[in-house]
C-alpha cells in the first residue's frame, strides 16, 4: 500500500525530471533568463533537501548537461549531510555521469566548485579520478588550458610529468617540448603552419594573432574541427567560398542538431536542397530508431510550429527543431505515420515559427486518422481557443475512447518557470519534457509514470535500473559531443 507521502514524492521526482531535461537557465519565449534560473535553483534546493537519494538517482536519466552539472555541484557542496552509504552510491553516480559529460562542461563544473569554495576530500578524489581517466591530458592542457590549470590548482594535484606542469604554469620558459602537441603549441607562436595542427578553438586565437585571412584559415583548419564545429561554420564557409573544405556529412549529424541546422537555412535554399536535406534527416532518424524501426504501429503526431516555437534569441528555434526532429523520428518508428502541423503546413522541411496555436482543432484532425499512438509535441500554450486541447482530450478519453485504444503522450520542449514543470495540456494525458528528439523512446517510457498509474516503488526501481545501465556502459555518449 502506498502512503500519501510516497505519491507526493513520485510526483515531485517526475516534475524534477521534466525540469532537468528541458531547463537550461536560458531565456525562453515566455520567460527571461533570470526567472528561469531562479525557478530552477529553487527546484534543485527543494529536491536536495527532501529527497537526496532520488535527487542523485536522476543523474542516471537523460537529463541535460546543465542540470547534471548542477546536481553534481550541489551534492558535492553538501557532502557533510550525507550518510556513508549515500556517499558511496552518490560517488558512483557522479563518476558515471562525469564520464558522459563533455569535457568543457566538467571543467566548467570544477571552476564553479572552486568559486564556491568546495574542496572536500570527496571532491578532490572525484577530480583526480576523472583527470586520470582522460585519454590525453596534454591535449586537454592545450584545448582547456585554464580549466585544467584551475582544476589542478584547486585539488592540489601534481600534473603527470614535469613537462605538463611547466606547460601549464610557465609555458614559454622552455625552448622545446617533447610531447608533440605541446611543441606544436609552442611553435604556433612563431610559425603559421603549426597553427593548423592545433584544435580549432585554440588555432582561432593564433590565427588572429598572425592575421591569417579567415577564408585561408577555415580551409586549412577544417580537418581539425569537431563535427559540430564544422556544422556551425557551414554558413561562414559558404560566404567565404570554402564550402567544399568544411563540408560535413549531414547524415551523420545528431538528429536534433541537424534539424536546427536545416531550420537555420533560408526557405529558398531548403527548397533547392530538398532531396539532400530530407535524405540526411531520414538517415539520422533511421539511425536513432535502430531496431525499433517500424514497430510503433499507426502513429499520428501533432506538431507545434506556432510563433512561440521560435524560442528566444539564445535558443533560436529550439522547440521547432525538436518538433521537426520528432517528425522524422516518428516517421521512422511508425508503420503508418501522419504529422500534422498547427499552422496547417504540409511539409516539415519548410517549417517556420508563425501564427497561433490551435492545438485543440489539430488534435481533432489527428484523432480522425484513428492512430494507435498520438504524440503531441508542443510548448503547451494552447491559445486558439485556450483550453480546447484539454477539453477535446478529456472528452475523447471519457466518452469516445474509454478503452484506451489510442495512447496519447505530450512531449514538451520548454520549461515553464512559473509552474516548476513543463506546461501540461490535460490531467489525463502524460506530459514529459524533451530536449533531444533522440531520447523520445526513453521519454515515452518515463511518461507512463506521469499517468499516475505507477507509484514510488516502481519509480525507484526504474531509477536503480537506469543507474545500473549508466555504470555498466561508461563513455557511451562521449562520441556524441566533444572531439572527433
Amino acid at each position: 500500500m502506498e502512503s500519501y507521502g510516497d505519491l507526493v514524492a513520485a510526483d515531485d521526482v517526475l516534475l524534477f525530471v521534466n525540469a532537468a531535461i528541458t531547463a537550461t537557465g536560458q531565456r525562453e519565449f515566455h520567460a527571461d533568463a533570470g526567472t528561469q534560473r531562479l525557478s530552477l535553483d529553487f527546484l534543485h534546493a527543494y529536491m536536495l533537501g527532501n529527497y537526496r537519494d532520488l535527487y542523485a538517482g536522476v543523474l542516471a536519466l537523460d537529463i541535460n548537461d546543465h542540470n547534471a552539472a548542477l546536481i553534481v555541484r550541489r551534492l558535492l557542496e553538501t557532502s557533510a549531510e550525507a550518510t556513508v552509504e549515500q556517499r558511496r552510491s552518490e560517488g558512483r553516480l557522479i563518476a558515471g555521469r562525469l564520464a558522459l559529460l563533455p569535457p568543457q562542461r566538467v571543467y566548467g563544473l570544477f571552476r564553479a566548485l572552486r568559486r564556491a569554495g568546495v574542496n572536500n576530500r570527496r571532491t578532490r578524489a572525484l577530480l583526480r579520478d576523472w583527470l586520470a581517466a582522460r585519454p590525453d591530458l596534454a591535449f586537454d592542457a592545450v584545448k582547456y588550458r585554464s580549466g585544467l590549470k584551475q582544476a589542478l590548482r584547486h585539488a592540489h594535484l601534481a600534473p603527470g610529468d614535469g613537462e605538463l606542469g611547466t606547460f601549464l604554469f610557465a609555458p614559454l620558459s622552455r625552448a622545446h617540448y617533447d610531447t608533440p602537441i605541446l611543441e606544436t603549441w609552442r611553435r604556433a607562436h612563431y610559425e603559421q603552419a603549426a597553427v593548423y595542427e592545433l584544435p580549432y578553438t585554440v588555432a582561432e586565437g593564433f590565427a588572429a594573432k598572425h592575421g591569417i585571412p579567415r577564408a585561408v584559415f577555415l580551409e586549412r583548419i577544417a580537418p581539425r574541427m569537431t563535427r559540430l564545429e564544422a556544422l556551425r561554420l557551414q554558413e561562414t564557409a559558404e560566404r567565404r567560398g570554402v564550402a567544399e573544405a568544411v563540408a560535413v556529412d549531414l547524415a551523420r549529424m545528431p538528429l536534433t542538431r541537424l534539424a536546427g541546422y536545416v531550420l537555420s537555412l533560408p526557405v529558398a535554399e531548403r527548397v533547392e536542397r530538398r532531396e539532400e536535406l530530407t535524405g540526411a534527416l531520414r538517415a539520422a532518424a533511421a539511425r536513432v530508431a535502430g531496431v525499433h524501426r517500424g514497430t510503433w504501429g499507426r502513429v499520428t503526431a501533432v506538431l507545434d510550429d506556432s510563433f512561440s516555437s521560435y524560442g528566444s534569441g539564445v535558443k533560436r528555434r529550439r522547440p521547432l527543431a525538436v518538433a521537426v526532429a520528432c517528425h522524422y523520428l516518428l516517421e521512422a518508428l511508425a508503420d503508418r505515420y501522419a504529422g500534422l502541423w498547427t499552422s496547417g503546413r504540409r511539409e516539415a522541411l519548410l517549417a517556420h515559427p508563425v501564427g497561433p496555436t490551435p492545438l485543440g482543432e489539430r488534435i481533432l484532425d489527428a484523432l480522425e486518422t484513428a492512430p494507435d499512438r498520438l504524440v503531441i509535441v508542443s510548448d503547451g500554450w494552447d491559445n486558439a481557443p485556450p483550453g480546447l486541447a484539454a477539453e477535446v482530450l478529456r472528452v475523447w478519453r471519457t466518452r469516445i475512447d474509454p478503452e484506451r485504444r489510442t495512447s496519447v503522450v505530450h512531449l514538451n520542449p520548454v520549461y515553464d518557470a512559473d509552474d516548476f514543470d513543463v506546461r501540461r495540456l490535460a490531467p489525463s494525458v502524460p506530459t514529459a519534457g524533451v530536449r533531444d528528439a533522440e531520447d523520445l523512446p526513453a521519454l515515452v517510457e518515463i511518461a507512463q509514470f506521469a499517468e499516475g498509474r505507477t507509484g514510488l516503488a516502481e519509480l525507484t526501481a526504474y531509477l536503480d535500473a537506469r543507474a545500473e545501465r549508466l555504470l555498466a556502459a561508461p563513455g557511451q555518449r562521449t562520441a556524441a559531443g566533444g572531439a572527433r
Binding site: 519565449f29 497561433p356 483550453g387 480546447l388 472528452v395
Partner: protein, 378 residues
C-alpha cells in the same frame, strides 16, 4: 473652431472583421481581429512598408496609401528624417512631398533607432488633437463670470497627459509574446478587461509592420492604473459538456460552438463600450472611395469614452481605426465643456441643468482644472 457633424457613425464599427480567441498575458488581454478578405487598394505608404505587393498594386492606378500619425521616414525627400504630422491619406506611391511632416533633429542615439523605421515621434493622433481643440475658443458670450484671459485667449494653453505604451506595465511583454493570427488586421487591447484601445488596418502585412508600434502609442492614465494595480486576468477557457457526445463529429461541432460563443460574447459584451457609444464624427479628408474621419464621444461620465480616428470605405466599413480611451478626468473635462457650450457658456443655466447652484459649479470647474477661466471674486 472645431465643428463635428452630428452622429453619422458607421452602423457596425467592426463589420467585415471576425473576432478570434484572445491571448492573455498578466492583466493584458489582446483580442485579434481577422479580415476574411484583406483590403488591397489602401495600404501603408510605401516609404514605411516597401513590400512587393504594393508595387504591383501601384500599376493599377486606383491605389491609395495612408500614413499613421508620427511615423518617421524621409518624408521630405532630402534625406533627413521627419515625422508625419497627423494621420494622412495619400494618392499612391508616385505622389511625393505632399506629406505634412515635422522635421526632426535627432541626437545620435535616436537617429539609430530611426534607422530601423519603427520610431514613432510625438505619439499623439489626429483624434487627440480633436479632443484638445474641443471648444478651444472659450466662451462665446462675455458673461461676467468669465475671466479676461478666458475671453481673450480661450482655453489656451490646453494640456492633457497620457502614458507611453512602454510605460504601461506588462504591455510590451504581452505584445511581444502575442501570436499573430493568419489574416489578422487588427487588435483590441484590454487591460484588466477594460477596453484600452482598438487598432484596425486594411491588410495583414500592414498589421505585421505596425504591431510592434503599439507600445509607442498613447494610453490614458486609467489604463496605466489598471495595468499597475490589477491582478492577472483569467483566460476564457473552452468548456465542453461531455454528455451526449458519442462521436468525433459531435466533438468537433461542440468545439466549433465554443469558438462561436466566445466571438458572440466578446462582440456583444466586452467591446460594447466602444461599439455602442454615441459619437460625433468629423470628416477630415476624402480620397477615392476612402474617407478619413475623427470622432468624439458624447462624454458620458463613469462610462467608457473612446476618441478615435478612422478611415472608412464608401460603404461605411472600417478599414483603418485607432482609438484612445479617455481617463475619468478627461471625460469630466470634456463633459463640462460640452455642457457649457450647449448653454452658450452661461453658468447659471448650466448649473440648473446639473441641479446645483453657481458656486458648486464654479467649484467643479476649478477641480476639473478650469479655475483660471473664472473671474476671481472677493
Amino acid at each position: 473652431m472645431t465643428s463635428y457633424s452630428e452622429t453619422h457613425a458607421p452602423s457596425g464599427l467592426f463589420d467585415g472583421l471576425r473576432t478570434r480567441p484572445s491571448q492573455v498575458w498578466g492583466a493584458v488581454r489582446l483580442v485579434p481581429l481577422v479580415r476574411a478578405e484583406p483590403v488591397e487598394d489602401l495600404r501603408l505608404h510605401p516609404r514605411i512598408h516597401p513590400g512587393p505587393g504594393v508595387v504591383d498594386l501601384g500599376r493599377k492606378g486606383s491605389y491609395c496609401s495612408y500614413i499613421p500619425h508620427s511615423f518617421v521616414a524621409e518624408w521630405t525627400g532630402d534625406g533627413t528624417p521627419a515625422a508625419a504630422y497627423g494621420t494622412q491619406l495619400a494618392e499612391g506611391p508616385a505622389e511625393q512631398g505632399s506629406v505634412a511632416a515635422v522635421r526632426l533633429h535627432f541626437h545620435r542615439r535616436m537617429a539609430r533607432q530611426e534607422g530601423r523605421r519603427r520610431l514613432r515621434f510625438l505619439p499623439l493622433h489626429l483624434a487627440l488633437e480633436g479632443y484638445l481643440a474641443l471648444h478651444f475658443g472659450g466662451p462665446t458670450i462675455a458673461w461676467e463670470e468669465w475671466s479676461r484671459q478666458a475671453l481673450s485667449q480661450g482655453l489656451s494653453p490646453r494640456v492633457e497627459a497620457a502614458y507611453l505604451g512602454l510605460q504601461v506595465p506588462g504591455l510590451a511583454d504581452a505584445l511581444s509574446v502575442f501570436e499573430i493570427h493568419p489574416g489578422q488586421c487588427g487588435v483590441l487591447v484590454y487591460l484588466a478587461d477594460a477596453l484600452a484601445a482598438a487598432f484596425v488596418v486594411p491588410h495583414p502585412e500592414d498589421y505585421r509592420t505596425l504591431h510592434p508600434t503599439l507600445v509607442q502609442d498613447l494610453y490614458g492614465d486609467l489604463v496605466h492604473h489598471y495595468a499597475t494595480l490589477m491582478p492577472p486576468v483569467p483566460d476564457f477557457r473552452a468548456r465542453i459538456a461531455d454528455t451526449g457526445i458519442r462521436s468525433l463529429g459531435e466533438l468537433r461541432a461542440a468545439a466549433a460552438e465554443q469558438t462561436d460563443r466566445w466571438e458572440e460574447f466578446h462582440d456583444t459584451t466586452m467591446a460594447a463600450g466602444l461599439v455602442e457609444q454615441e459619437s460625433n464624427w468629423q470628416r477630415v479628408r476624402r480620397m477615392g472611395r476612402f474617407t478619413l474621419s475623427r470622432f468624439l464621444p458624447e462624454f458620458r461620465p463613469k462610462q467608457d469614452n473612446h476618441i478615435g480616428e478612422a478611415i472608412l470605405d464608401e460603404r461605411g466599413r472600417t478599414v483603418y481605426l485607432k482609438t484612445f480611451r479617455l481617463s475619468e478626468n478627461q471625460v469630466r473635462r470634456g463633459f463640462l465643456l460640452s455642457r457649457l457650450a450647449a448653454h452658450d457658456w452661461h453658468l447659471a443655466d448650466t448649473a440648473t441643468e446639473f441641479g446645483i447652484d453657481d458656486a458648486a459649479l464654479a467649484k467643479r470647474l476649478e477641480t476639473a482644472g478650469f479655475g483660471h477661466l473664472l473671474r476671481q471674486r472677493r
